[in-house]
C-alpha cells in the first residue's frame, strides 16, 4: 500500500534542532528527519507569520526563500520551479502575513556534523490569526505527547518501540522516539517543556509574560516595578522604538534604535539581548540587514 505520509505538527525550535536524517531504502522510499523528541518527519504542517520573502533565482527560474516564525523560532522555506503551486502562491504574498504551509523536509549538510533543515512547500495559503492560534495549540499538544513518550522511554532500562506502543503511544512515534534516543542521547526535556509553556502563554496574552503584537505600551500600568517585570518592560520600550522609528514602512534603522535605547538607559548588550528575545518571540523581524520591523 502506498500511503500518504502524515503531516507532523512541530515547533521551529524542535525542527531546527534536528540532526538525524534517515534515508528511505529503495525506489521512492521516503526519507525522514528525526527531531530530538522523536518526530520522524517527511511531511510537516506549519502555521506562522511569513516575515520575509526573496526570489534568489530569476524571473524564469524562480527560487523563493521565505521565513516563517512561530512562538519558538523560524522555519526556513525554499520553493522553486518544481513546486509550481507553492511558488506561485509565495510570489503573490506581501509579508508580513499569517500563512499555513504543508511541505516536505529538506536537509543540507555542507560538512560532517552540521545540518541545516528547511521546508520545501507543497501548499502555501494565507490564513488568519485564529488558524495560527489553533496550530499553536495543536502543536503544543503534539509536543507534550512526544515529551511524554521520550520521558517514558528514558525510564526504561531497555527502551523499545514495542514497550512504548504498549503504553499507548502510536507505532510511528514509538519508532521515532527510540531512534531519537539512540542518536541524540540526553535531550533537555525541560527546555522543550518550557517552550511549550511559553507558546501556551503566547496564546493567553493576559497571563504574565505573554506579549502580543498589538498591545500598546501606554496601555501598560506604569507602577509595575517588580524585578522580573523589568526586562519585559524594556522589551515593550524597544518594541515601541521599532514601531515609531519605522518612518518609511521598510523597518526602523538599527542605528536609530541603538540611539533611542541609549537615551532610555538601555545598554548596548542589553539591547542586543532584548531584540534577540523579541525576534525569538516573533514580535519583530529583520526585513533587510540593519532594519527591524514590527510584525
Amino acid at each position: 500500500m502506498i500511503t500518504r505520509e502524515m503531516a507532523w505538527r512541530v515547533f521551529a525550535a524542535e525542527f531546527n534542532a534536528s540532526r538525524l536524517e534517515i534515508k528511505g531504502e529503495g525506489d521512492k522510499a521516503p526519507s525522514h528527519l528525526v527531531t530530538p523528541l522523536g518526530a520522524a518527519i517527511n511531511r510537516i504542517f506549519v502555521v506562522g507569520v511569513l516575515t520575509d520573502i526573496d526570489n534568489i533565482g530569476s524571473e524564469e527560474e524562480p527560487m523563493w526563500r521565505a521565513r516563517i516564525q512561530d512562538p519558538t523560532g523560524t522555519f526556513y522555506l525554499s520553493s522553486g520551479q518544481y513546486q509550481p503551486e507553492a511558488t506561485a502562491a509565495l510570489s503573490k504574498i506581501q509579508p508580513p502575513k499569517f500563512v499555513a504551509v504543508v511541505g516536505k523536509t529538506r536537509t543540507y549538510s555542507p560538512e560532517e556534523g552540521t545540518m541545516y533543515v528547511s521546508i520545501r512547500p507543497e501548499k502555501v495559503r494565507i490564513v488568519d490569526a485564529a488558524v495560527r492560534d489553533l496550530w499553536v495549540l495543536e502543536t503544543c499538544k503534539a509536543t507534550i505527547k512526544r515529551i511524554e513518550a521520550l520521558k517514558e522511554a528514558k525510564e526504561m532500562s531497555q527502551p523499545t518501540a514495542e514497550a512504548l506502543v504498549k503504553l499507548g503511544f502510536n507505532q510511528t512515534l514509538a519508532d521515532g522516539v527510540i531512534k531519537a534516543m539512540d542518536h541524540y542521547g540526553e535531550v533537555d526535556l525541560q527546555r522543550y517543556k518550557e517552550s511549550v509553556i511559553d507558546s501556551l502563554k503566547y496564546l493567553l496574552p493576559e497571563t504574565q509574560g505573554g506579549l502580543t503584537v498589538h498591545e500598546e505600551v501606554s496601555d501598560m500600568p506604569e507602577e509595575i516595578e517588580d524585578e522580573p517585570e523589568e526586562s519585559i518592560d524594556k522589551e515593550k520600550v524597544v518594541l515601541q522604538f521599532v514601531e515609531t522609528l519605522d518612518k518609511t514602512g521598510k523597518g526602523a534603522p538599527w542605528d536609530d534604535i541603538v540611539k533611542a535605547a541609549e537615551k532610555a538607559n538601555i545598554a548596548r548588550d542589553e539591547l542586543d539581548e532584548i531584540t534577540n528575545s523579541l525576534l525569538d518571540k516573533g514580535l519583530v523581524y529583520e526585513p533587510a540587514l540593519g532594519r527591524m520591523k514590527i510584525i
Binding site: M1, I2, V47, A100, V102, V131, L137, A142, I144
Partner: protein, 446 residues
C-alpha cells in the same frame, strides 16, 4: 543424487500417478533423467510424470506442506493441509461479454491459523465445512495486508482423514483475534463466532440469487457506542429498527476494507433493553481516530476529526458527461468525446490528525453546505471570473488548514483510506480555554 535423496521424490511421483506405476520403475526413470541426462530435478520429475501419462501440474513444486501463517502473498504453488471452516457459494455477474459464473469462497484453517480461500471452479472441488483436505498447487495474493489463497485450474484437492489435523483453534485467525463479544470498532475481516451488542438502525429485505436458488437476506445498519457496521442476516430473525439486541455467532467479511457483519441460522439473537446496555446511549456517534480505522481497514458511517491540509486538483466546479457522468476535461469526455458537460461540485481533500491521514471526497450537497454556496452560485461566480479556478480557491479558503469533523463510510485501496463524506462541519475550538487548561496541567507538574 543418491537413492536416499531421490526416495521422497519417487514417492511424490507415485502419488501423482496414483499408484499406476511401480515405484522401482519410477526410480529407474528418474535416475536416468538426473544422472544420465543431468537435467534439473524439477524438469526430471515433470518429464517422468508426463512419460507415464500423469499430470505434471499435480507435482508439488515448493516441497511439502506449509503452515497457513507461513504463507506469503504472490506465491505460485502452495500446498497446505487444512480444515474447511466455511464454504460460501457466490455468483459473479456477467460483465464485459463474459458469462456469469459460480465461485466458492470461505475460510480454511490449520493449527497455525486461518486463511481466506477462493475456488474458481467449484465443480472440481467438492468440500464441506468440517472436511480436512490436502490442497496442492494453490496460489496466493495479498490484498490490504491480507493473504488470500486461490484454487485455480492447477490446484488439486484430496480428502484426508478427519484426525490428520488436530488442535485447530478457530478463535485465532491470522488477520485478527476473534470469538466472543466484540465492539463494532473492533470488528475485522475474518473474525468468526463473534457477538455484538447494540441497536438495529435499519432493516431491508432483499432477495439474492445463489447457487441453491434465491435466498432472502435482511440487511441494514447496526450500531454500538463505538461505531456502526453494515450487517446481513441470512435467516429471518424478525429484526426491527431501533431494537436493542445481542447477536451471537456472527462472522466478519470485509469489502474494500469495510467490515461487514454476517450471521445465519447458527447465530442467535437476544432481545435486550437500554438498561442492559447503558453505554449505548442515545445513538449519538462518537468520533474515531484515523489510526483506529486504519487498523481495521475501513468503517461504516464513522465520525472523524482532523485538519484539512490539502485540497486536491479536480476539486471545485467540474463538468460531467451527461451520458456517463465522467468528469469532462477541456470540453471532452474520455469516452463520448466533445459533450456539453453538466456542472457539478465536488471536493477531494486530505484530512490529517497529526497521527495519520485520510482522503475525503465530498459530493455536491456536502460541498454546497461547506462552501455556503449553491451550485448555481458557483456557476455564476466562475462565469464572472471567467475561470473555474475561482471555486477551488474559495474551497481552499473555507477549509484549508482548518479543523473539520467529517462523517461517512471509509474504504481502503492501495492508496490508503478514503472517506465518502456524508456530512462535514468545521470544528469550533475554544483556543484560550484549552490553552489555559493545558498550561495549568503543565505548570502543575513542575
Amino acid at each position: 543424487m543418491d537413492k536416499n535423496e531421490i526416495a521422497p521424490h519417487v514417492k511424490e511421483i507415485a502419488r501423482v500417478l496414483e499408484g499406476k506405476v511401480e515405484e522401482s520403475k519410477i526410480e529407474e526413470e528418474l535416475e536416468n533423467y538426473l544422472n544420465v541426462y543431468r537435467v534439473s530435478l524439477d524438469t526430471a520429475k515433470r518429464s517422468v510424470v508426463k512419460g507415464f501419462g500423469g499430470d505434471p501440474n499435480a507435482l508439488n513444486k515448493s516441497g511439502g506442506r506449509r503452515k497457513v501463517t507461513d504463507i506469503k502473498g504472490g506465491e505460485a504453488s502452495v500446498d497446505i493441509l487444512a480444515k474447511v471452516i466455511t464454504v460460501n457459494p457466490k455468483e459473479i455477474p456477467a460483465s464485459d461479454g463474459k458469462p456469469a459464473r459460480q465461485i466458492v469462497y470461505g475460510i480454511i484453517a490449520d493449527e497455525s491459523g486461518s486463511i481466506a480461500y477462493t475456488v474458481w471452479d467449484p465443480q472440481r472441488f467438492q468440500m464441506r465445512p468440517g472436511d480436512v483436505v490436502m490442497l496442492r498447487n494453490c496460489y496466493t495474493h495479498e490484498y490490504n495486508g491480507r493473504v488470500d489463497l486461490t484454487l485455480g485450474n492447477r490446484a488439486t484437492l484430496e480428502q484426508m482423514p478427519k484426525d490428520s489435523l488436530q488442535n485447530i483453534e478457530m478463535s485465532a485467525p491470522v488477520s485478527s483475534s476473534a470469538g466472543g463479544p466484540a465492539k463494532v470498532s473492533e470488528l475485522a475481516d475474518g473474525m468468526n463466532s463473534v457477538s455484538i451488542t447494540g441497536r438495529i438502525i435499519s432493516v431491508e429485505r432483499r432477495e439474492v440469487p445463489t447457487e441453491d436458488g434465491t435466498k432472502v437476506v435482511f440487511s441494514g445498519l447496526f450500531e454500538d457506542e463505538t461505531g456502526r457496521v453494515q450487517y446481513s442476516a441470512w435467516h429471518d430473525f424478525e429484526l426491527k429498527p431501533k431494537e436493542i439486541v445481542r447477536i451471537s455467532r456472527g462472522y466478519v467479511k470485509s469489502w474494500k476494507g469495510v467490515p461487514k457483519f454476517n450471521f445465519g441460522e447458527k447465530a442467535s439473537v437476544t432481545r435486550l433493553t437500554l438498561d442492559d446496555v447503558p453505554d449505548l446511549g442515545s445513538g449519538k456517534l462518537k468520533p474515531r481516530t484515523i489510526l483506529d480505522i486504519e487498523r481495521i481497514g475501513g468503517a461504516t458511517d464513522a465520525l472523524v476529526s482532523g485538519t484539512i491540509i490539502d485540497v486536491k486538483e479536480g476539486s471545485g466546479l467540474i463538468r460531467r458527461c451527461p451520458q456517463c457522468k465522467r468528469v469532462v476535461q477541456k470540453g471532452a469526455c474520455r469516452i463520448h468525446g466533445k459533450v456539453d458537460g453538466a456542472p457539478d461540485l465536488r471536493v477531494k481533500a486530505v484530512l490529517d490528525d497529526g497521527e495519520s491521514t485520510l482522503t475525503i471526497v465530498m459530493n455536491r450537497s456536502v460541498t454546497e453546505s461547506v462552501l455556503a454556496l449553491t451550485l448555481d452560485d458557483c456557476v455564476r461566480q466562475a462565469q464572472e471570473a471567467m475561470t473555474t479556478d475561482v471555486i477551488k480557491d474559495i474551497a481552499e479558503d473555507k477549509i484549508l488548514a482548518k479543523p473539520f469533523m467529517v462523517r461517512g463510510n471509509v474504504l481502503s485501496d492501495e492508496y490508503g483510506l478514503m472517506m465518502i463524506v456524508s456530512e462535514a462541519s468545521p470544528v469550533e475550538i475554544d483556543v484560550k480555554e484549552e490553552a489555559t487548561k493545558l498550561l495549568a496541567d503543565l505548570e502543575g507538574f513542575q
